[in-house]
Structures are given as structure tokens and as C-alpha cells.
Amino acid sequence: MNKTVTFRIWRGDANGGKFVDYTTEITEGLVVLDVVHKIQAQQANDLAVRWNCKAGKCGSCSAEVNGMPKLMCMTRMDTLDITKPITIEPMRAFPSIRDLATDVSWNFRVKTKIKKFNPRKPDCEDGTWRMQQEDVDRVQEFRKCIECFLCQDVCHVLRDHHKHDEFIGPRFLVYTAALEMHPLDTEDRLAELKQSQGIGYCNITKCCTKVCPEHITITDNAIIPLKERVVDEFYDPFAWVWKKLRPKG
């Protein structure tokens, strides 16, 4: 049975904007992105919205639905109360480009500053390595990330305190954790984590974990272990003394 729904969509650009109401009919089984597309095709041809796979795998259609950071393609209409207008706004932690599309280029710049994967020498003469599944399970969890940046959007260090120059945000802490915990990796990224990448800013409120559409346990499995490694490296007095006293070489 068809029902009527009102979408209150933010329209505008970097210079400002406003919410515009669009009323449309919906059928059974739709997701938020379907309704946005319907409005785009029938009422607002120039409504800017990013999307690709429509199956929760590419992480393009991130937005705030009734104030909650979500992938629009994975938010079913039957999970929302349609008796009231549904607000759709762009991610607020990033500058606006137009309508629902935001400028997420900062994320791409941050990633290039993190030291790349650097494997140990191959284990076998044919140039391959051996790793056990249990040793890669954790890294595979982190590598599920689809880079939707919803965790960055919800992180108060970025969203409210705008520490983009001092803090890399949950996405890149997960990325760093995947590299640091990779069984083959030989690089050391702890000094940057402590200094330029600002891991200390995270006060583990776990908002990022809550919004992750891939259900990556960001705080507990990635950020806290990294924080522990940083502490062990730089703040453990016994380790500090040991490092001073141990023979060089």
C-alpha cells in the first residue's frame, strides 16, 4: 500500500542553505536513498547526492538521517517514523559542497601521511609468506572498513572541536591499527600516533563504534590497543629505564 512521506532535505552549499520539504509516495521495502532518488528524478533533478553500490559496500551515501549518521542505502524506511517529516542532512563534520555532498578530501590527505605497509622478507623462497587465520582475524575486521567516514562525522574531536590538523580521527586510527597489527608489517608508527596524529585526543566515548555500518569494534579493538602501545612506548617508567640501560645494537 502506498503511503505519503515528507523528506526535509538540506539544500545549499558552502555559503549556507536551508531545509526544503518534499512530499512523495512510497511503496513497500524502500530505503532512504530510494526516496531521495525518487525526489531527485521527479521534483529536484539537481539535488546533489553521492551514491554508488546501493548495498552498503562502497560507503558513498553517508548522511545524517533524523540527526543520526547513517548510510542512506542501508536505512530502511520501515525503521523510521513517517508520521513526521524525516530530516536528511549532509555530514556536518565536513565542509559542504552542495546539498548532501560534502568535501571529504581531508580524509584522503590524512591517509597519505600515514607510513605505508612495509612487509618483512618473504618466508619462503618462492616469495610468499605464511600466516595463520587466527593471526589475521583482527586485521581483517579492520579491513572491512568501507571508508564511509561516518565515524569521523560523529567524533566530537572533529565535529565539535575541529581538531582536523591535530587528530586523524577514528577511521585512520583503525587504518593505522590494521597496519600495526598486520603480522607481516615491520614499520613503527607510534611516535606519529602520539604527536602529529593526536591519539591522546580520543577519550573513548565510543560514538564511532556505535555508528560504524560495518560493525567494526573501533574503540575497543583498534584505538585502545594503540593507546596501550603508545603508553608502553613513551610513558612506562620501567621500559624507559630499560631502554636507557640496554646495550645498543
Binding site: D13, T27, E28, G29, L30, V31, D34, Q40, A41, N45, D46, L47, A48, V49, R50, W51, N52, C53, K54, A55, G56, K57, C58, G59, S60, M74, R76, I97, R98, D99, A101, D103, V104, S105, F108, K111, T112, K116, F117, P119, P122, G127, T128, W129, R130, M131, Q132, Q133, V136, V139, Q140, R143, K144, I146, E147, L179, H182, D185
Partner: protein, 607 residues
């Protein structure tokens, strides 16, 4: 003479940043040339992320009987022997090295007990061959290439659309396009251009492809003088979601069947046992118990008929639905939950082996695949046809223009095996990057022709200059009408008169597309982007229909109800489409070159 547009100059310009484009860009930059990479979306969002099952490479980690010869023979058999045999040979030989290279760049594949890269069974592959990461292998591939590539000195242009390739005489010397964000036009001058733009599923109403799959590279190359090959071969993946309507077409990975999933009609019958093609009979089990053992890696068991090639499975599903034995929403049932009879803790097992499928059905259809069967039906998935290339170098017939990945043709023949696409991307992406860099080193820059640039600009912005009303319409309706027409008339089962109807319909749609009007301005305007994509969609739809009319037989992804059998005569040629001097599309048959004795022998041995 300088143009009025900001110009970027590269040795090699790669258009498209999926698996093939990224791999090509990495290879070219490693060769020491300056590389620009154009993404239609943001970096890392390309359709490669949707690939689920794995990448085929005969490493023999799970079954040591596997080697390149078996892989080559499987690919040729799956492609019904109209493949470019040289590409099939190179692909089978080089895929293992390309997969190992990904591991060296940080990819984390699922492991065997010995700690090697694990490999899984897939349709048409004789042995477990697909390196995989759960059911998100495409994401792993693109992320690995992305994270490696960003440290290679490649200049990445995100959210750019290329509207035309630029030529100096016969040679391609660059491209013209705009950034979607601001609508600013740019000239990209390049000594060599590689198109890696992926698929064209958006020409159809039901497709697993995202909005990007509009055949841009195929169309751009065609209009620049490149030949297209075998455009009639479109793969309809047997298992797409069909319910609820909003998800219709989204892919359900073949790994569901690889892990023991079975197909049933509404009477609960495993209908795939009813029709096993002659050339696969010796490899296919007749006993469900044996089929199950095959999926659990019993080396002595034969494969269940659900793992026959995709073209065949799709047609069997189509047959069941047409005969009134389908599921409530017009598909059939795919059931993995039944394995609870076989293994304890099957729910956990399914979630671990097929995490994104579990997630996708739970979230989009509110269905728990560990408890209930899925409803599925065929979806437009992959173009075997595309730009004609040299098997070794990926060069087209136009100097300076290369193509790789789904937009190139040859490797897969009439039907692609699952898992051969991701390996295609890395094997031929690398080769395209290598030979494009070589071309760039051996040739000086060409000249950019201002008149060409101005003409392309005028064509691109024309939709804004047509006032609404007065015979104009928006772009979306034209796109919908084209998709529905192709779906109905040039789809999974084809007929002469329906395709003739479609060919005439395309002409009418071209006339409508020429009158499409868009509102607003150049900045991030999806209506305008859709208007521009229409030209590509119409071009490739015409090529598909023309080739499908010409091939009066059924083979692989091309099935004709009026010619249901394979014709030995048609096995000898490929269809080649090109643009005639008067702008019309012309078609010719080209005889497939004879296969070297050594390869013939491999095929004989593997029969």
C-alpha cells in the same frame, strides 16, 4: 594555440579508478612516467568493491593438481572458445604472481591451515581456485591498490567525468572533461590514454551495476575510432536479489552456492539436475550427496549442477519462472540454511563464510539467511564484450589508446567465469600500464586541437541551453525508457523481431536525448551528469543490439530463442563494430586466428 581551459599534462592518463585503472596507474608510475588518474567517483568507491567471491589464480594452494593449463582450459570452455586465446593464456599464467604481489602490498587473504592463501570453489573452475577475503574480496583488492597507489606519486582527480577523447590525426593525445564538484572543464593532455571504465549494466533495468556503469570508456573509445568486439555477450548473473523492489538486481555472490547453497523451485525441487549441458556432464555430480562433498573440498567429488556456468544457471532459472514454478516475487529460491543438516553450528559457519550476504539480507530484506531461503533471479552483471585490444599490450587499434578490465574484450569470450574478473583487472591492468608507459616514452606529445575541445564543450553544456517545455524533457525518463527497452528486447532471451524493434527504438531515443533539457547550474548537478551519460548508454545499446542481431546462434551470454543451438560456423568469428566515416555504426565479422598447437593440446588434455 592554447585552449581556454586549465590543462593538466601527463605521460599516461588512466580513465577509471577501479581495480584495472589503479593497477595500470601503479604500473605506469613504477615505470617512471608521470601519471594522472581520473575517478568518476571518490577514490576507492568504484564498482570493484562489489566483487565478492574472489580472484581466480591457479596457485594450487588447496588442490595441488591445479596449474595454469587447467585454468586456461576452464576459461576457454566457459567462454565457449570464442575467447582471445592469447589473453586466456597470459591470464592463467600471470594471475598467481599478481595475487602474491597484492599480499606484498598489504592485502590480507583468508588462510589455509598451512598458512597459505586459501582458495575456494566457483562455477566452471575445476579446482578450488579463488583467493578470497570472506565475501568482500573486491573491497580488499581496491583498498590494497588504493593504499599502495597513494604513495606512488600518481595525481588523482576525483569526481571527474570525461566527455571526449582528443585526437591529433589518428592518435589519441588526451581527454576533455569536467569536475563534478564545480563543473569546471579541463583538458588532459597525455602521450598515452588507458580506459578502464568498467561495465555497462546501466543500459538495463535490472542490474547489479552502480550508476557509474554506463559504458563510458567503451563509448569514448568507439567515438575516437576504436573497434569494439563481441558486444552481444552480456552476462546475466543468475543470483540477484529480487525482493524488496528497491534492491532488485543487487548481487548475491556465487560463493553462496560455492559454500553449499542450492537452488530450488516453488515445489522444493532442485531443478538444476534437469539440464546439464553435454560438455560439462563428465564434471558434474548426479548425486546431491556428492555435490555437497565437493563444496566441502572433497577432491574426489564432482561439482553440483548449481555451480555450472552463469549463463546456463541464469537460463535455467528463467525457464522455471516462465513455467510457473517460480517463487512469489518472480524468481527461485537459493537456500544455504539447509546445511544445518550437515554441520553443527551452521548459523555461525554461514555468518563467517558469507558475512556481507548475511548482513545484506538482514538489513535490506529483513531475512535471516541462516534460517530461511533467499529469493533470487537473474540480473545484468557483466559485459564480456568491449574495446578490442591486443592481448599482450592491451593497445587498441587507435595509436596511444589502451583499454583494460571490463571495458576491454577478449579474455572471457562468450561467458565469463566467476572470479576471472578480479584476476583480469590485475593481470591486464598491469600490462596496460606497462605498455602505455612504454608508448609514452617512445612518443612525443601530440597537439591538442582547439576545435575538438570547443565542439566537445558545446555538446556537453547544450542541455542547459534548451529551455524547458517546447518539446524538451528531463534526462531521467529517457534513461528509464532505454533501460526498460533493452531489458525487454535485448535481455536474457532474445528474438529477431524484438531486437529489430529495439534498434528502431534506439533511434527514437537518440532523437529524444538530443532534446533533453536540464535545469540548475554546472556544480554537482546529477540531472546534467545523467544527460551526458545518455550518449554513452545509447552508443553501447546500439552496439549490443547490432551484434546480437548478427549472431544467429546461442552461445554463452547470448541466447536466441529463434536460434537456440550453437552453430559451428559462428564459433569461427568475432563481431567487430566500428564507426564509419559517415558516423553510422558498422559491423563486420572477423575470423578468430588459429590457436597454436601447444594450446590446442592443453585443451585436449583437459577435456
Amino acid at each position: 594555440m592554447a585552449t581556454n581551459y586549465e590543462t593538466h599534462e601527463y605521460d599516461v592518463l588512466v580513465i577509471g579508478a577501479g581495480g584495472a585503472g589503479l593497477r595500470a596507474a601503479i604500473e605506469a608510475s613504477a615505470a617512471g612516467v608521470k601519471v594522472g588518474l581520473i575517478c568518476k567517483s571518490l577514490l576507492g568507491k568504484a564498482h570493484t568493491v562489489m566483487a565478492e567471491g574472489g580472484m581466480a589464480a591457479a596457485m594450487g594452494n588447496v588442490d595441488d593438481r591445479d596449474n595454469w593449463k587447467v585454468h586456461f582450459a576452464d576459461t576457454m570452455r566457459g567462454g565457449q572458445y570464442v575467447n582471445n586465446w592469447r589473453m586466456a593464456e597470459l591470464h592463467a599464467k600471470e594471475a598467481p604472481a599478481r595475487v602474491h604481489e597484492l599480499e606484498a602490498w598489504g592485502a590480507v587473504f583468508d588462510r589455509t591451515k598451512e598458512g597459505k592463501i586459501s582458495q575456494r570453489n566457483f562455477g566452471g573452475h575445476r579446482y578450488p581456485r579463488l583467493a578470497h577475503v570472506g565475501d568482500r574480496t573486491g573491497l580488499e583488492l581496491i583498498r590494497t591498490l588504493q593504499d599502495h597507489g597513494i604513495h606512488q606519486g600518481i595525481t588523482v582527480h576525483m569526481e571527474y567525468t570525461i566527455v571526449s577523447l582528443l585526437k591529433d590525426g589518428d592518435r589519441v593525445v588526451g581527454a576533455f572533461g569536467y569536475d563534478r564538484e564545480r563543473g569546471r572543464f579541463r583538458v588532459f593532455k597525455a602521450k598515452a590514454v588507458v580506459v578502464c571504465t568498467g561495465g555497462l549494466g546501466r543500459a538495463y533495468a535490472v542490474t547489479s551495476n552502480s550508476w557509474e556503469g554506463t559504458g563510458d570508456g567503451v563509448s569514448l573509445a568507439y567515438h575516437a575510432g576504436a573497434e569494439l568486439l563481441d558486444m552481444e555477450f552480456i552476462q546475466f548473473h543468475p543470483t540477484g536479489m529480487i525482493w524488496p523492489p528497491s534492491v532488485k538486481g543487487i548481487l548475491v555472490t556465487e560463493s553462496v552456492r560455492g559454500e553449499g547453497g542450492v537452488l530450488r523451485n516453488k515445489d522444493g525441487k532442485r531443478f538444476m539436475y534437469d539440464d546439464v549441458p553435454e560438455n560439462y556432464r563428465s564434471q558434474t555430480s548426479t548425486d546431491p550427496e556428492e555435490g555437497w562433498r565437493y563444496t566441502q573440498n572433497d577432491k574426489n567429488a564432482k561439482r553440483p549442477p548449481e555451480l555450472l556456468t552463469r549463463d546456463h544457471v541464469a537460463r535455467c532459472i528463467n525457464r522455471e519462472v516462465k513455467a510457473g514454478r517460480g517463487s512469489p516475487h518472480g524468481g527461485v529460491f537459493l537456500d544455504i540454511s539447509w546445511i544445518k543438516e550437515k554441520i553443527p553450528n551452521s548459523a555461525e559457519h554461514i555468518k563467517r563464510k558469507l558475512p556481507s550476504m548475511y548482513h545484506q539480507f538482514m538489513q535490506l530484506a529483513n531475512l535471516d539467511i541462516t534460517k530461511e531461503p533467499m529469493e533470487i533471479g537473474p540480473t545484468t552483471h557483466y559485459a564480456m564484450g568491449g574495446v578490442r585490444v591486443n592481448g599482450d599490450t592491451q593497445a587498441t587499434n587507435v595509436p596511444g589508446l589502451f583499454a583494460a578490465g571490463e571495458c576491454a574484450a577478449g579474455l572471457h569470450g562468450a561467458n565469463r567465469l566467476g572470479g576471472n574478473s578480479l584476476s583480469d583487472l590485475i593481470v591486464f591492468g598491469k600490462r596496460a600500464g606497462e605498455y602505455a608507459a612504454k608508448f609514452a616514452k617512445e612518443n612525443a606529445s601530440g597537439a591538442i586541437n582547439d576545435a575538438q575541445v570547443e565542439a566537445a564543450y558545446k555538446e556537453a553544456v547544450e542541455p542547459f541551453e534548451r529551455p524547458a517545455g517546447g518539446g524538451t524533457e528531463g534526462p531521467y525518463q529517457v534513461q528509464y525508457d532505454l533501460q526498460n527497452m533493452m531489458q525487454t528486447n535485448v535481455g536474457i532471451v532474445r528474438l529477431q523481431n524484438e531486437m529489430e524493434f529495439a534498434l528502431a527504438g534506439i533511434e527514437k531515443l537518440k532523437a529524444r536525448a538530443a532534446k533533453v533539457a536540464v535545469q540548475g547550474h554546472l556544480e554537482y548537478n546529477p540531472g546534467w551528469h545523467t544527460a551526458i551519460d545518455l550518449k554513452h548508454l545509447l552508443t553501447i545499446s546500439e552496439a549490443i543490439t547490432l551484434c546480437a542481431l548478427e549472431r544467429k546462434e546461442s552461445r554463452g551470454g547470448h541466447f536466441r530463442e529463434d536460434f537456440p543451438d550453437k552453430s559451428p560456423e559462428a564459433a569461427k568469428y568475432n563481431n567487430v563494430v566500428s564507426k564509419a566515416a559517415d558516423g553510422s555504426m558498422k559491423l563486420r565479422r572477423e575470423t578468430i586466428p588459429p590457436m597454436p598447437e601447444a594450446l590446442k593440446q592443453v585443451i585436449e588434455e583437459m577435456k
